[in-house]
């Protein structure tokens, strides 16, 4: 591929980089026990939550940052971050969307997320989170009629403390890793979803995260519980303004599936990736996502389209405990310019006849580094368990890199594990062939990449498959001269 083509590949713009001018309440920079107490008090939390946070904070102090990932960045000063930021209004509970600050509504509209229900995407309920607080949740009442709880996590702590006590931290313990501990100590918002027995959630649920304030960390926490025979499909989207400094995003997502429950969790991640020319700024996306298939025949499916962030460090995983439970991971990770991604999954097979499927598509362009890291573990008890992994990398240009670190750990003789991997490069011949048929190089690259990713895109909810396709096109826009 020509140099010219590569150079233009590194010149696309990020349309979500604006900052909303809105007054915000921001906690002083730094992390200590007083800040945690302040967060808890601001959120009017019950004592058990403060105890949860402080326990995690004390443990965090004993931990060090993980260094095994294939990414490089200067040390993070955890005392230089605001751990709490919230738009000043509204101080009180909102009765309806009409009371939301119109500036916020405009922000979300600009991001393509209309919050007024009449303009809503048909059949999708949205929880919009701006910095540390949830600003609006749509279709709440309609969902409640079906017994489905969909609300900000802080509201769940207040209204459903028993569920929170039972499940929060039950999948990702505060002792799990450095960022999970940090999140447990300072998390400020997130979504809570609870689908009771036998209920098929009548619409797609979606949370939209937006970081707005400079030097703010975003630490959201999502908890989804699906009871017996229940099912839900959930999607998260993320954007942030352009800042020269790096911002830390350390989220935790926990999923719990009981007998025959089915959870589908999709992510379209497009955090600001830093300056395309210098690599300055951008989000550090250090996220812990895990699902527990507790019940028999339960199923958890992760689908992610990761296109943003300066650094992505995330491994949405499944712990397959229930007999015959199923875990799936479908991933497209695109890195361009100076982005670095170290992402993949863990499939921990514990129950009999558990099954997992991993389909990972990594696309590297510019000077980026893209790593797949995965663990498939067949425990002694996982009799007859089965895994299949397909791990493909695509390189665009010759200044990027792709790596794969698959770990397979089999502790019983009756399980089967399959791993297939390919590396491809978009060739000049392919582009010439398409061009000779009258297709511009941009459209040709988009078609080739969409073809490469289609096994993952077909797992996305229909409304978002189109969006993801366009997003990839946008990320590689002007990629050719």
């Amino acid at each position: 591929m020509s140099q010219e083509l590569l150079d233009t590949l590194t010149s696309q713009d990020y349309p979500y980089g604006f900052v909303t001018d809105i007054a915000s309440d921001t906690a002083p920079k730094g992390l200590n026990e007083a800040i945690i107490r302040l967060i808890s008090a601001n959120k009017k939390e019950p004592d058990f939550m403060l105890a949860f946070r402080l326990k995690a904070y004390k443990h965090w102090l004993t931990m060090t940052e993980p260094s095994w990932a294939n990414v490089a960045y200067p040390p993070i000063d955890f005392q230089a971050i605001h751990y709490y930021a919230a738009p000043k209004t509204p101080p009180k509970k909102l009765n309806s969307l009409d009371e939301v600050d119109p500036e916020l509504l405009r922000t979300f509209a600009k991001l393509g997320i209309p919050l007024t229900e009449q303009k809503q995407l048909a059949g999708v309920a949205v929880d919009a989170i701006f910095d540390s607080v949830s600003v609006a949740t749509t279709y709440k009442e309609k969902l409640l009629q079906h017994g489905v709880i969909f609300c900000p996590l802080s509201e769940a702590v207040e209204k459903y403390p028993e569920l929170i006590k039972q499940y929060l931290g039950s999948v990702v313990s505060y002792t799990d890793n450095f960022y999970a501990a940090l999140n447990a100590a300072v998390f400020t918002e997130g979504s809570f979803v609870y689908v009771p027995k036998n209920i098929v959630c009548p619409m797609e649920l979606s949370t939209y995260f937006r970081i707005n304030t400079a030097d703010t960390g975003q630490f959201e926490r999502t908890l989804i519980v699906c009871e017996e025979y229940a099912s839900v499909s959930y999607l998260e989207g993320c954007t942030a303004p352009k800042f020269d400094t790096n911002q830390l995003h350390a989220a935790v997502v926990e999923l719990v599936a009981l007998d025959h429950a089915n959870i589908k969790y999709s992510t379209v991640q497009n955090w600001y990736a830093g300056d395309p020319k210098t690599g300055q700024g951008g989000i550090y996306n250090f996220v812990t996502k895990r699902g527990k298939c507790l019940g028999k025949q339960s199923k958890i499916s992760w689908t992610q389209v990761e296109t943003g962030s300066a650094i992505t460090w995330k491994y949405p995983s499944c712990v397959l405990i229930g007999e015959g439970s199923v875990g799936e991971f479908y991933s497209v990770a695109l890195t361009n310019h100076f982005q670095q991604a170290d992402t993949g999954t863990k499939m921990i097979h514990i129950g009999k006849n558990t099954k997992s499927t991993i389909v990972s598509k990594g696309i590297s362009a510019g000077r980026s580094h893209n790593t797949y890291r995965g663990i498939v573990q067949m425990n002694k008890s996982a009799i007859g368990a089965h895994n299949f992994t397909q791990c493909d990398s695509m390189l665009i240009g010759n200044r990027c890199s792709a790596n794969t670190f698959p770990t397979i750990d089999v502790r019983n003789a009756s399980s089967t594990v399959g791993h297939e991997a390919t590396t491809v490069k978009i060739s000049e011949d392919q582009l010439f062939y398409c061009a000779q048929r009258g297709i511009s190089q941009e459209d040709a690259i988009a078609a080739i990449i969409n073809g490469f990713c289609k096994d993952v895109f077909k797992e996305l909810p229909t409304e978002f498959a189109v969006e993801a396709t366009q997003l990839l096109g946008l990320k590689l826009e002007n990629s050719v001269g």
């Binding site: 060739s427 000049e428 010439f432 062939y433 000779q436």
Partner: protein, 246 residues
Amino acid sequence: MLEIKTLCAKINETDILKGLSLTVKPGEIHAIMGPNGSGKSTLSKVVCGHPSYEITGGDVTIDGESILEDAPDVRAQKGLFMAFQYPVEIPGVHNGNFLRMIYNAKRKATGLDELDPLEFETFLQEKLKMVEMDDLFLERAVNHGFSGGEKKRNEILQMLVLEPRFVFLDETDSGLDIDALRIVSKAVNQYKNTQTGFVVITHYQRLLSHIVPDVVHVMVDGQLVKTGDKSLALELEEKGYDWLLT
């Protein structure tokens, strides 16, 4: 009218085309024959704008206007088509969608509305019959895992879809069995019209007994050294190229 005027081109410091001239009028079929390494395949790639070649002299015009500054996709929009000697595989890209994409790109360039999948399906059916392909063919990835004959038929199918004004058939007969050769030739003959000029690049007379040329050229060392009518092809078949090499 397509005019190639004393065209010179090189790749990696090696001169391949050395002042080649050729004029193709609508409705004409030109055959170019010649020994291996004479630059036959380079000619079609250079005219279509392959980025590996550098033009060092001469010009290529369509209706009097130079196309050398145009990107390959723009040249295609101006009606140039090349059936590749080695059609490129594009894994993951659905052949049916690809055909619709190239067709709609052409429609867009000429200011027409794009066809939706159903409308295109209707349009495509008749073309599919011409190359004796069925719908299953459309469900596969572009050229991916196709046999040699299938790839060449897919090239001709694309030609039928795009309805180009100037067509280069670059050794389309190589790697074809007798049936595929018959199908490809029949489709070309069906498409052949007064509006389209063909340049048929081949080693063998056998293709030219199916697609009958108006003019036959012999290419040696980057130049056309002899031009005649279709009987020249028969003469070459009999005598080889040696008598033309000096």
